[in-house]
Symmetry: C2
Subunit: 290 residues, 2 copies
């Protein structure tokens, strides 16, 4: 079969020059969440859990010294998923990570160097199985406690529709650092079409548009935790129902009652003949079972 220029496919491919047009740079970034136990000082009280995000401090321009998601420029011979695993492997010592594609960001001026398109992957990590590697020279890799709170909700009528503006405070913190950020989510419904836009209102030392990505990640987790089994990816293989409940409460930022929560997830877990001991009544351990 010949094309309009009378070339066979073989001839066409031999002549094909990918460099005839300029191509954007392309990176893959990882947004990694994990759960950390905050040891209770009262033996009788349960350990509280915290949701954490992995960030690393840039050591070069642009955005030098800001905190960013781990990422890599893609290689010509690796798939997106392979690149996301490479970004992960460079920073952590992982096993059995849950990783899924989150979103691709391609605004023209999102990187000061040149045009960069970035596909992000969302990862959920069971910290009991994985650790951050020893930090590299000149490089800091840190888990940040993650908190998101709604600070305002507005809804106004516009022509042929509704405009909704939500403001969130996103606080990322650890022993030394507190990053205090604000984003705005604008949901426009005009006629039948709903569009959503995420805007950075206050950016506290987070590089690029990575604050947006972090928000989109938590939103994805919040949606998926309701209908999928991603919560289990954040826990060790054996867990108590209370621990699982804490994960749900942490992510959805709402409380459940024990009895109702038990019913909700009862058909996805299986009790085993082991108990978690502590300063109170031992709790039965469960494992995930589809």
């Amino acid at each position: 079969m010949l094309n309009i220029e009378g070339l066979t496919e073989k001839e066409f491919l031999e002549k094909y020059d990918p460099s005839q047009f300029e191509h954007p740079s392309y990176t893959v970034d990882d947004l990694l969440f994990a759960i950390e136990e905050k040891q209770s000082n009262d033996v009788r009280k349960l350990n509280r859990k915290k949701l954490q995000v992995l960030l690393l401090k840039r050591t070069n321009h642009p955005y030098i010294n800001t905190w960013c998601l781990p990422g890599v420029f893609i290689k010509m011979d690796e798939s997106l998923e392979e690149a996301s695993l490479r970004a992960l492997k460079e920073k952590t010592d992982f096993k059995n990570i849950y990783l899924e594609q989150l979103y691709t960001y391609g605004e023209v001026n999102r990187d000061k160097r040149t045009r960069v398109i970035t596909t992000t992957y969302l990862g959920l990590i069971d910290k009991n199985q994985s650790q951050i590697k020893e930090t590299f020279v000149n490089e800091e890799t840190k888990w940040f406690d993650f908190k998101i709170n709604t600070i305002s909700m507005k809804k106004e009528k516009i022509d042929n529709g509704v405009k909704q503006i939500l403001e969130y405070k996103i606080i990322l913190s650890n022993e030394e650092i507190i990053l205090d950020n604000i984003i705005q989510v604008i949901i426009n419904t005009v006629n039948k079409i709903t569009t959503k836009e995420v805007k950075i209102v206050k950016n506290d030392n987070i590089g690029f548009d990575h604050l947006k990505i972090i928000y989109c990640g938590i939103e994805r987790i919040r949606n998926k935790i309701e209908y999928s089994d991603i919560a289990f990816s954040l826990l060790p293989d054996k867990f108590t129902i209370a621990e699982l409940q804490q994960v749900y409460e942490l992510i959805l930022n709402k409380k459940f009652t024990k009895a109702n929560f038990q019913r909700k997830i009862g058909n996805r877990i299986k009790p085993i003949d082991e108990y978690r001991l502590g300063g109170f009544r031992p709790a039965k351990l469960y494992i995930y079972q589809k």
Copy 2:
């Protein structure tokens, strides 16, 4: 602030050479769905609806003469969304299209020419407002009726988990052409981690990995129709409840009863003082209201 080489950001950016590494090519493709009425030959019977996908026939290598999604190579100064709109504008005459980012495909050998990464956008079109443009020279742009049927479901135990294999027949057809394809969806649950893989089993003249993309699109629509208002994007501004119900039934491939469907969507629509006339009792028209 200086970097490790003692450069300011300005100096760094001036020295930055994006061409130091080879970059993959990058395209944005559109997967467009619409609904078409099949005129009933019995005046008393309702028109049946069909779901359609827009494909165009390639006029050059590679995959010459196969049917593909409309797409464009990205320009250095346009965002992904702008590129998706450009791909759309070249083929159709649209107004108020619902468009959302679907997924980014980056397997190394998915394009014979060179490494190409593609971000896909899913569009839902109300055909009453939009039309295909006159086809270009040597180019055919066609709506294909879309049907997907499950042909097998297997579930087997594997080490530490479950493997589920679903096979679907995807038929794309119009007056002249019938494309008969088969794909396989493999859902692996190992330990707590679930992964999904889409494989092409039989590809009937569809270019690149676009059959995979079409499957992912219908899957996205099926999920979103349950909790969002995308169904309305496929309908004109004024519609009857039966028409809306048909859209739901078409996409989810299941039947509802009138009374129950009414309750399900009742709070999202508003009756207006107009009626759809036909060979039977006139039906009240509704409009979408959030």
